[in-house]
């Protein structure tokens, strides 16, 4: 595949990389470097977030027990060597915030999107490279500010409010108790910075995909990954500004004595604000955020399933429309987070019906993923295993939305472990599996070496078994009535039979987190010692596999690639190989596809 460019369009405009270390690796405008920066930021964050969850599970499995090492880590917050309720809730808040923003929003979009959107559409960089650099560094600053919240107060380790930071608890300052002071200010500021960064990123993604596609790359020839990133960017563009505004109002309530979210007669003399307003603004962002986390993974799952089943994606167009439908409907369902908030019960009915209809495009995606591997010749590589695991987790996590989306069933289940299990499977673990599959799949292109398949498979098995064993039992805990964000359930009699299950889950968490060491070893070992990767080690069809691994600074070495076909032309009858590259100029003898939908 060395000569991928049609001779007629073969003019060469090379761009040389900057020479200094700082411009090349730190303040780089190269989308590939920025992608890797985002990816490492997410890796740091996910390790942190995971360690926080280990501490939470320690408390939930062995409430109030003394652990000597805690005195060393938290000399003031865990003076007695036990996890206090204050410390526990700080861990909850920081775990959620770090994971949602700096892992699930960062790696799939900022990491893989930056690295591969320009290459997959045949461009030499993003539309606005400097803006791209700024997006990353503002995100980085946001993370630094958030980490600062750990050190905000001496005896509490961070803010106490959950990642949703409901007002007026989050708006009143220290009057509302420990963990509501400087920690909350830093927490909101961090989120505000993150909003700005995501907004800049979203503008860049949208412009790049619409304007910078290479010759022949019509919209319906785009890989589904690109549709995932594009729709995610549209959601980010429309939802982050709302959270930014809400965050600024909350900061004003906190610091300037305003009263946007503080009603009359609450702890001080302010008047007239609405606590429910915060929830509307937060969830207007917060629900699309769920799709911001998962849509890139959905695009990538389609991509990888087709690649390793050696079959075209089943119903490509429908997959694109389903992504749109999910993105669009995602803006009209935020109220299902607020059924019991005190808002009008009539509104709740409307939100509930729309919420259940969003299950329809989600079900279509699942059908089509199974349709894609049906009749295939599956190669069980590590990225494929994670993609299959993703489909299974997407089903397990998504389907319980049918309970929670119903107004009446939300009455007992709201704010219990049923919800925690639901969103961890769909938004947490499924999206993390998306990040894993992207890493195993694109690692050769990003770093020029292959990851170890044996270690990759062990990592898959331990992780896949682990997450199911952890999160499925959460649902029955929730049915038993276990409320979330409780430092312990031990003081409630009706939950006495939940306690052994909780301890069992803690063991499963330790096992699963421990298994991630296999991934880290594989990652760093492969980065330096892995087998050298060829241009196209997976025999895939899209543009990133037409260029060297890792790609040169200007991606296509100054040539303009020309695209002749759709992205998933696998096993085309009569073609010389079972994969027809998008850039292969020779039209294979067109055999009629067995299905009735045209290829592009």
């Amino acid at each position: 595949m060395a000569d991928v460019v049609h001779p007629a369009h073969g003019e060469v405009h090379r761009h040389e990389p900057p020479s200094g270390f700082i411009r090349k690796y730190i303040f780089s405008t190269d989308h590939k470097v920025i992608g890797i920066q985002y990816w490492f930021l997410a890796l740091f964050s996910v390790i942190l977030g995971m360690l926080l969850s280990v501490l939470m599970r320690l408390q939930l499995g062995w409430p109030g027990e003394e652990f000597g090492f805690l005195k060393t880590i938290f000399p003031t917050a865990a003076e007695g060597g036990t996890i206090t309720p204050d410390l526990y809730l700080s861990l909850v808040t920081m775990h959620g915030t770090v994971m949602v923003f700096f892992v699930l929003t960062t790696a799939p979009q900022g990491g893989f999107g930056n690295s591969f959107l320009p290459i997959q559409i045949g461009a030499d960089d993003m539309a606005f490279p400097v803006l791209n650099m700024m997006s990353f560094w503002i995100t980085f600053l946001g993370l630094v500010v958030l980490l600062g919240a750990f050190f905000a107060t001496a005896n509490v380790i961070g803010p106490i409010g959950g990642w949703t930071g409901y007002a007026p608890l989050s708006a009143l300052g220290e009057k509302a108790g420990p963990g509501q002071g400087l920690g909350v200010v830093l927490w909101v500021s961090s989120i505000a910075l993150f909003c700005i960064a995501s907004l800049l990123g979203a503008l860049n993604f949208i412009t790049t995909m619409l304007n910078m596609r290479t010759r022949g790359m019509s919209l319906m020839r785009l890989p589904l990954t690109c549709w995932g990133w594009f729709t995610t960017a549209v959601l980010a563009l429309l939802s982050f500004p709302v959270l930014l505004a809400a965050g600024i109002l909350l900061l004003l309530d906190h610091l300037a004595g305003t009263s946007f979210f503080i009603p009359t007669n609450v702890l001080d003399d302010r008047q007239g604000g609405s606590p429910i307003l915060w929830q509307h603004l937060f969830w207007f962002f917060g629900h699309p955020e769920v799709y911001i986390a998962i849509l890139p993974g959905m695009g990538l799952a389609s991509h990888i399933l087709a690649t390793f089943a050696r079959k075209p994606v089943f119903g490509y167009r429908v997959m694109v429309y389903a992504i749109f439908a999910i993105g669009l409907l995602g803006f009209f369902v935020w109220g299902h987070h607020m059924f019991i908030s005190g808002m009008s019960p009539y509104t709740a009915i409307v939100f509930s019906v729309i919420t259940l209809t969003i299950g329809v495009p989600s079900a279509i995606k699942t059908f089509n993923w199974i349709g894609t591997i049906w009749g295939g010749q599956i190669r069980f590589t590590t990225p494929m295993l994670f993609a299959l695991g993703f489909v299974s987790l997407f089903v397990s996590g998504g389907i319980t939305g049918l309970f929670l989306g119903q107004t009446s069933l939300d009455l007992p289940l709201h704010d219990t472990y049923f919800v925690v299990g639901h969103f961890h499977l769909i938004m947490g673990v499924a999206a993390i599996f998306g990040i894993f599959m992207g890493t195993y799949f694109w690692f050769p292109k990003m770093f020029g070496r292959m990851m170890n398949e044996g270690l990759g498979k062990i990592h898959f098995w331990f992780s896949f078994i682990g997450v199911n064993v952890i999160f499925i039992p959460f649902h029955v805990m929730g049915m038993s009535g276990a409320p979330r964000r409780y430092a312990t359930h031990g003081n409630l009699e009706f939950l006495s039979n939940v306690m052994p299950l909780s301890k069992f889950i803690s063991y499963a968490v330790f096992f699963t987190v421990g298994a991630q060491i296999i991934f880290l070893i594989n990652l760093f070992w492969s980065m330096f010692k892995g087998k050298k990767a060829s241009d196209n080690p997976w025999e895939a069809t899209t543009l990133e596999w037409t260029i060297p691994s890792p790609p040169p600074y200007d991606n296509f070495a100054g040539r303009v690639p020309v695209v002749y076909r759709g992205p998933y032309e696998y096993s085309v009858p009569g073609a010389p190989t079972d994969f027809s590259m998008q850039t292969d100029p020779d039209e294979p003898k067109a055999a009629e596809p067995a299905g009735d939908e045209s290829g592009d």
Binding site: G161, A176, P275, K311, I370, Q377, V476
Partner: protein
């Protein structure tokens, strides 16, 4: 590898079914009129979700086992089938929307039906990390309250205005006592941040929001002592914000309500011990 993963997915379907249907963990016993209706809707949804879940996992597992790579054979070349797409879109749309509509019935009954006029009224005033219940006393009318009259050292967390005639016989306590088989109307308020009234045995939950007075009504059908928890993160001791709901036989309830407020407190302590 494919066979193993396929088998694991079969196991996942069976294992999850056993976990949900094994009976080790389930909703607590239901004691309100909404309970059986909510449980019926839950079970209906569980059937739909259970069948869809198992079917999807098993179909995925089957495809994984069956379509593993065989030598140099080529995969089937197809881009899909509009007929199939349309079929499953219509089926899921009908099933999901039907569920959503069925799910509104109990909701409407809980929120939209008029409270029966004879409902016993109790005002719930939540605060960090305590539930306060303001009882109307024998006259059945809740007296005026005023935030300025709150006096923690006198154990008046609600701020009852004793100058209001209706407030003369009012009592307040941190335990909720209600009569069995009689409609009750709670008015939920909060003094500081958002809390959420959650008695798992009632199957219902409602936020207490500062600045709002949210009403809810129910009828408890079984005598006993039930745990009441806070379901909305309200600060560092959120998990400690628990209390009890006592569902009393008519005579005990009436006796209790006829007592002057000091005796009321003592009697409630006795009742809490007994149940």
């Amino acid at each position: 590898m494919g066979k193993l993963l396929g088998l694991f997915l079969f196991l996942l379907a069976v294992g999850t079914a056993i976990l949900f249907l094994g009976g080790w963990w389930w909703f607590p016993e239901s004691i309100s009129e909404y309970g059986p209706l909510i449980d019926a809707q839950f079970n209906r949804t569980l059937v739909v979700v259970g069948v869809a879940f198992c079917a999807a996992q098993i179909a995925l597992g089957y495809a994984i086992i069956r379509f593993g790579r065989k030598g140099n054979e080529r995969a089937v070349y197809t881009h899909g089938s509009s007929k199939l797409e349309l079929t499953w879109t219509v089926i899921t749309a009908v099933v999901f929307v039907a569920l959503a509509i069925l799910g509104q019935r109990v909701w409407a009954q809980f929120h939209l039906d008029e409270t029966p006029p004879n409902a016993k009224k109790v005002e719930v005033v939540a605060q960090q990390f305590q539930w306060n219940f303001h009882y109307p006393g024998p006259d059945g009318a809740l007296g005026r309250t005023d935030r300025k009259l709150i006096n923690d050292s006198a154990l008046d967390f609600v701020g009852i205005d004793r100058s209001d005639p209706a407030a003369q016989d009012d009592a307040e306590l941190t335990t909720l006592a209600i009569p069995v088989n009689q409609p009750v109307e709670l008015t939920l308020r909060s003094k500081d941040v958002i809390h959420s009234f959650f008695v798992p045995a009632l199957r219902i939950k409602q936020d207490a929001v500062p600045g709002l007075a949210v009403r809810m009504n129910f009828t408890a059908s079984r005598i006993g002592k039930y745990e009441l928890t806070c379901a909305e993160l309200c600060g560092n001791l959120h998990h400690n914000m628990k209390s009890f709901m006592l569902v009393l036989p008519d005579n005990e309830y009436n006796e209790l309500m006829a007592l002057p407020s000091d005796d009321f407190v003592v009697r409630m302590g006795e009742l809490l011990q007994r149940y």
